[in-house]
Amino acid sequence: MLTKEENHHRRNVSEKFAFLSLRLSLFLVMFILGVILYDITAKGIGVLSWDFITKMPKTGMTEGGIFPAIVGTLYVTVLAALLAVPLGVASAIFLNEYATQGKITRLIRISLRNLAGVPSIVFGLFGVALFVQIMGFRASLLAAGLTLGLLTLPVTVTAAEEALKTVPKSFREGGLALGATKWQMIRTLVLPPAFPGMLTGVILGLARAAGETAPILFTGAAFFLPFLPNSPFSQFMALPYHLFIMATQHHNISAVRPIAYGTAFVLLAMVFLLNLGAIILRYRYRKRFQR
């Protein structure tokens, strides 16, 4: 039988030990992230130079830069945004402003959540079937961009809806009370204050699209092209695909390892900057309507 003090002491020790191990798990995750970022940065940053990001690959991609891959990724991401942003914002406006909460909105939300869980490679297959074959775009920037756009749609809708939800109800009621129609009210009173929040979501969606490889594998990304894409129907090089090739498919993998590291670093930096931008934007606007 333990005395009261002994029991108390034991409980305290076990609590300290338990909390310490929980804290250590968090530090372990941070450590893993740190190792990943450190490894890519340390070995990638040395490869980085003005030429590396502005020149074409040379001599069987064993030398030269990754310029066409950067440009391709920018193009395809912008194309994805052109599809996902208007559609996502419009869906969010319907869900949050027009629809009465019932069976239809529930079905839409379930679809969105499931769409978010559809594997990216399945989106790739869907892109092949719909855009490449049925619509006849062939493997192209357009087909890949549309595929990526659909992939990011759930992220955009969710973010846009969150943003709409932060706008106080009184804004809407005030507008309607002054005699504005519903659309006038949404356009002038709801959308402007929701804009920064939506932008955050869009940026996060784009960051995801820019890093995706599987959906563009067969919808338009090319192994190597000696020129930049000149129309939406051209094939293109992309950073994530370029990294994949440099890491696993190139005929001389060990020789191009530095280029692979450089590509990984540029891709990571791009995604990281987009994420950072979104986080800062959200942090600045988060407290706007809280009182």
Binding site: S120, L125, A247, I279
Partner: protein, 291 residues
Amino acid sequence: MQRFKEKSVRYFFMVCGLLSIVILFGIFYLLLNSSFPAISKVGIKAFFAEGYWNPTAFSGPQYSIWNLIKGTFMVGAGSLIIAVPLGVACAAYLAEIASTREREIFKPIIEILAGIPSVVLGFFGLVVVAPLLSRLFNIPTGINALNGSILVGIMALPTVITIAEDAISSVPQNYKHASLALGATRWQTLRKVILPAALSGIIAASMLGMGRAIGETMTVLMATGNALANPSSFLDSVRTLSANIAIEMGEVPMGSVHFHSLFFVGLVLFLITFVINLIADLIFQHYREGA
């Protein structure tokens, strides 16, 4: 005129909102439609029979996806074994123990982890984790199911942490106060009251993590070795459903049985993740209504 405009705006938003349902069904329909020629030629039974995936064999091609499914679930389960305990520990720490300041620092960092493109993680697995495993287990290469599990586990971590944290923080404060008032320590309260109350949310988080892990393509493609043999341990090279599509889709002649059978593989992958996500969704609904 005004009323007509209002109505058409409303319909426009409704159509956009309904589009996500259309896309989800469209994905299912096109996958089914494109895999139909393979299903009728090969037969459902042959796909699921024990055997090998070897569609290009000169005499008697085989289409069994048995080993692919096995590989997929090995990596899925392996990654959960890593991601769930670690993720829930982090979530418990963030929700119950961390100070507000700590939370504000760690949560964006976890988002950064979520933002790392899968191809970069795959590259990391290839150049850092593989040599490590090969030395640790004294095997010729560290590119195997274990490597894939570790990386996909890291990938699934942010999903598990975010959703589990949500579940833990939405446990009513009364439970906690009642437990503390009865003289339980904070650790006893966390372990015996809060975590059990959040269990359904934690399970849902694990399911979503599983969904992500099973659908993940680039990381497993680069880190698991993609052998078609029947794997007997985690130190064997495995090929997952997703990787199989990624490897073969680019080289297969369009319209062949092989081409269509890859759509069938996509359909199976889609259905598996769909069911997993749906279960997670149902659990969510359940605990939201319960709370």
